[in-house]
């Protein structure tokens, strides 16, 4: 549980947000994340994030499902316990395709959901610090992590100059924790407002 210092700038319009993201990045700051009420097209590009590898992971999970299904069924029906079903050959590929398909989908879907949860650090009971409650409603919340070289006041001024409607400095938990917000909020972060 590491407490870190963040500068937070809130924007109320996408049109203001995009140039601000660009300005902040040109000024040399590394943006930790931008929390938005809805998916914003092109924001990942503006933030300079790389393409996700989730689909590659999905492909690998799918292939694993296919292989599992083929090897499992073919071993059972040809080696382990061959049965005569309606006079069909033991290696009855067409009859297996639905199951192979289903297992491919199941592995890919479950695997991708789990990977997504892992990457986003989401799970039942897992809590993370909210930089601004209105990020789930109508504010675009840009968060920049401070290093020892960062002048937080300068950064706040830069954000305000680029159209942030609200700016503040927060010392908050960086990772995730189990528990509830109400009991642990006071222990885990304190908001510094000036």
């Amino acid at each position: 549980m590491a407490q870190k210092k963040f500068v937070v700038g809130c924007f109320d319009d996408e049109k203001v947000l995009f140039p601000a993201v660009k300005q902040v990045r040109t000024a040399g700051y590394k943006i930790k994340d931008v929390y938005t009420p809805f998916p914003v097209h092109g924001l990942d590009h503006a933030l300079g994030m790389r393409e996700t590898s989730l689909h590659t992971a999905g492909f690998i999970y799918g292939i694993t499902g296919t292989t599992t299904a083929i090897s499992c069924i073919s071993w059972i029906f040809t080696k382990d316990w061959p049965l005569n079903i309606g006079g069909k050959p033991h290696f009855a590929l067409p009859a297996w395709i639905p199951i192979i398909f289903e297992l491919t989908v199941l592995f890919a879907a479950v695997g991708m959901v789990m990977t997504f949860m892992w990457l986003c650090q989401m799970a039942p009971g897992v809590k993370k610090h909210h930089f601004h409650k209105r990020a789930t409603d109508d504010l675009f919340v840009m968060v920049i992590e401070c290093t020892e070289k960062t002048n937080a006041e300068d950064l706040k001024a830069l954000l305000a100059a680029n159209g942030a409607v609200e700016t503040d400095i927060q010392i908050a938990e960086d990772g995730w924790w189990f528990g509830t917000y109400d009991n642990e909020n006071e222990n885990l972060y304190k908001q510094v407002t000036n």
Binding site: H55, F59, G86, P94, I97
Partner: protein, 409 residues
């Protein structure tokens, strides 16, 4: 938008190619017609008319799929396709042309009682056959002719109405009220087409035109299978024309984002086609009832085996593997290649659907097939290019155009 090229000019090279194809194809078609089509040998007759039938039915359904694409997009209030809608419209202008050829061929086959193609035309055989007697309410010349006439006429007419309303977007900028009523009227017109499409292409027409070749046999998957085949080929055709126009410096507003979505359709409907292919095959294979397996017997174990499995490789494995990646769907060269492959693959699919039933013992693929194909492709190139040149390439006042310009996948 001052820099937008609104007027398509037909490149000379394209015209030369189109005329060359029409010339060579036309010669093959006429030569085939007089040596085989009107020959006294029934085998040769069946060969010629069967070949012409699957070609003309394939291209009619493929060009009609372009209008289907426009109509369901309109119905869903989709905006992304507005930047290249004139391409799909131009392709759909071929429906009356190819439709007339289909009409002429089918009516000729039915009226001259070519019962080696449609066994149910043989009145004497039907009278002795309880199965065909049971189907006679549907499979009879009168109904066939009426329904074929209605289908082709209404596809053409509803398609024409859709193209007409699209022209309104060329005239004046629309205010909110006009745009709203324009939208509702477009949706109403597309509704007529879609309902009629469902009653014909997605059900009765493939039963009548294609499935009834195997008069005793039936499959509940057949119409959807035919529809999927023609629709994925239709999307490939749209992709090909979009890429061609883009290559010639037109369609500035269409970019990799739009191509990505077109290629998604090609990818998704290739899988959908396979789903139907497999559903039809697997149930019949599993039940193993002679009156059902009769359709697959000579396709899977006879002369058509290579064609049958080539069909699956070209139309399923190739799109699955090649079009799966995002970067592939955004690559103009690769999508163009896949579009040609898919068009060819589904043409082969139609070939085996028709000729696989008419010429059970040997694969007839040869100069006649490719000659007639060349003729149809030539007509397609020429007429689509002319239609593109006859109206602006961009429906510039369409209420959804802006959404299409900023489209992002």
């Amino acid at each position: 938008m001052a820099s937008i090229k609104e007027q398509f000019e037909i490149p000379g090279k394209l015209k030369t190619w189109a005329y060359a194809l029409i010339g060579i194809g036309g010669v093959a078609l006429l030569y085939g017609m007089f040596t085989q089509g009107f020959s006294t040998d029934e085998h040769e007759q069946v060969h010629f008319w069967g070949t012409l039938m699957y070609n003309t039915i394939f291209w009619t359904l493929v060009t009609n799929a372009a209008m289907f694409f426009l109509c369901f997009s309109t119905m869903a209030q989709a905006a992304w396709m507005q930047s290249f809608r004139r391409i799909a419209e131009a392709i759909s202008t071929l429906v009356p042309v190819f439709g007339s050829i289909t009409f002429a061929v089918l009516i000729y086959v039915v009226v001259s009682e070519k019962h080696h193609i449609y066994h149910w035309l043989d009145a004497a055989a039907v009278a002795k056959d309880p199965i065909l007697k049971g189907k006679a309410g549907f499979l009879n010349p009168t109904f066939f002719i009426i329904w074929t006439t209605l289908a082709i006429t209404l596809w053409s007419y509803f398609g024409y109405r859709m193209r007409q309303i699209s022209r309104e977007a060329d005239e004046n900028p629309m205010d909110a009220e006009t745009a709203k009523s324009f939208n509702i009227r477009s949706m109403t017109r597309s509704g007529f087409f879609l309902v009629w499409f469902g009653l014909t292409v997605a059900s009765t027409i493939p039963w009548l035109w294609l499935m009834s070749i195997d008069a005793h046999w039936y499959s509940t998957m057949y119409s959807w299978y035919t529809f999927a085949s023609s629709f994925v080929a239709g999307m490939a055709l749209i992709a090909l024309w979009v890429i061609y126009a883009k290559n010639k410096g037109y369609l500035e507003l269409t970019n990799a984002e739009h191509l990505h979505d077109i290629a998604k359709f090609m990818f998704a409907f290739s899988i959908f086609w396979t789903y139907l292919w497999f559903s039809q095959y697997m149930l019949i294979w599993y039940a193993n009832i002679p009156e059902e397996t009769v359709y697959f017997k000579h396709r899977v174990q006879g002369a058509y085996k290579p064609i049958f499995f080539l069909n699956l490789v070209v139309n399923f494995l190739a799109p699955l593997i090649i079009l799966m990646k995002r970067s592939a769907k955004r690559n103009f060269t690769l999508v163009a290649f896949m579009a040609v492959l898919i068009l060819f693959g589904h043409w082969i699919d139609f070939y085996q659907m028709v000729m696989g039933s008419l010429m059970k013992d040997h694969v007839t693929l040869g100069w006649l097939d490719f000659g007639i194909l060349g003729f149809f492709v030539g007509v397609l190139i020429l007429m689509v290019a002319r239609s593109l040149a006859s109206k602006p390439l961009i429906a510039k006042n369409h209420p959804f155009l802006k959404e299409s310009i900023i489209h992002q996948v």
